[in-house]
Symmetry: C2
Subunit: 279 residues, 2 copies
């Protein structure tokens, strides 16, 4: 059975649009881009389109690839202090002369709609976050909207990156799941996947998960993204697994759908701003 | 085989003493205590004794149990700004009228030697932390000093608390371990423990881990701490497991030994302060 991420995302966006209409101000999202990387530009286009759909103002600040770290931080600080902008993201990757960690930490955590600052990660850990990074947030949402229970279930996460595997494992624990995190140094991944109720793939390794590695009826969320000969592949052997599982296709499951979570985060950041006015 | 935490801790403390002697200033640790809880006072006594051993100045600021949150935060801010104090902890638990989270966040992360602020937790997550909370830090140190490999091994952590289970799972992932976090909502814990190379117990549930739940040769680190009829119990059935495993006794394995990590953190906070002077 196919889990249709696009359908769930569209539902979320139309609910969000109604919530945004009720706000006393129009939310605004700003994206900083250094240079002209075409992949980055195409991601930003997706964000702009979704923003338009839900009623969020969108601004792209495109800087020269040679901009200094100091000037970039200066711009971030000025946006931090600009009360008309509620959400800010710096499009990654940044060029080599820029310290990515320092740039992320310069963002006001209340406007950090990517949820990448250490303050927001700390809150995610503690279960008190309101701005949660988009991909892990989307995986949880997709499971919930698809009525796949997490509580008391065994979930295997494959991949331990800072932006997917690690935050997801914490969110799943917070939801009452028993979580095993596997990665490239794990011996015998199938020992774990064979016992799993849910497998979340975030390794970037096509055809990693095969039919003989899971139980029938398993739920598979495939966050993998690898381009081979112009075609996008997830981490699952989709054709073999689909008849025996609930599974997200790649593309069409996770990738672009996380943009819906960015919109939700921008809405949340706007409500944070509005409630700060009444303090 | 017994893993002797006391021996490892004493080794660390004597190395630390030599490092502290080389510093240009004497580190100082301040502990804030509200009220007169005898258990808290006995923990503080242990901290004071260890500080003395390694050459760290120690100051206890004892406040009335009725102190307001505002006054407590005011005191924390004044200590944050006091350049003669390098490490600060607020002894937990705090009385019910105080918001513990707000108090922890008021501590300057550079002086947060308990590693509890969201900034330091975020850094632990990212693998960039220099101030790591004492119990998980100690478990990693104890495994390393006992030459128990983590990389490529399967480690089962039982318990998902914010101060032990969750941070430990992240640290173990950072070290290349495959980690399963079990907890009270996990079905069939033995499915996981039977496959584990290392089991870390942090559930607070005496005799939880029995001989038939593990493989011979497993390493068991018991962070459990339950007092029954005046006697301290860990989470392992120690007598039955000891002949078949490497195991920490309770007491004598983890509990008071984490104080050694608090001393190391105070030393690290002092070096952070010293390097800020030269910036």
């Amino acid at each position: 059975m196919i889990i249709d991420g696009k359908y769930v995302a569209n539902n979320i966006l139309s609910k969000l649009q109604k919530e945004i209409e009720k706000l006393s101000i129009k939310p605004k999202l700003c994206v900083i881009l250094m240079g002209e990387n075409p992949t980055s530009l195409s991601y930003i286009k997706q964000k702009e389109r979704s923003a338009k759909v839900v009623g969020i103002d969108f601004e792209l600040r495109q800087l020269s690839i040679n901009t200094t770290e100091k000037d970039l931080i200066h711009l971030i600080h000025s946006i931090n202090n600009d009360s008309t902008i509620h959400g800010l993201i710096v499009q990654l990757p940044l060029p080599a002369h820029i310290n990515t960690h320092a740039i992320i930490e310069a963002i006001n955590p209340k406007k950090d709609v990517d949820g990448f600052t250490s303050e927001n990660i700390g809150k995610l850990f503690l279960g008190t976050a309101n701005l949660i990074s988009c991909t892990p947030k989307w995986v949880i949402k997709l499971l919930q909207e698809s009525h796949v229970p997490i509580y008391g279930k065994h979930i295997v996460v494959i991949g331990k990156s800072n932006i997917v595997g690690k935050p997801l494992s914490l969110l799943l624990m917070n939801e009452g799941g028993t979580v095993t995190v596997c990665h490239k140094d794990t011996q015998d991944i199938e020992v774990f996947t064979k016992h799993a109720d849910i497998v979340i793939l975030a390794a970037g390794c096509p055809w990693l998960l095969k039919k003989n590695m899971v139980r029938p009826g398993v739920t598979i969320i495939d966050v993998g993204f690898t381009v081979i000969d112009g075609k996008i592949h997830g981490d699952a052997d989709f054709e073999a697994l689909e008849p025996f599982s609930s599974i997200t296709p790649v593309p069409g499951g996770v990738g672009p759908m996380t943009v819906a979570m960015l919109m939700e985060n921008t809405y949340i950041a706007t409500t944070i701003y509005l409630s700060s006015l009444s303090e």
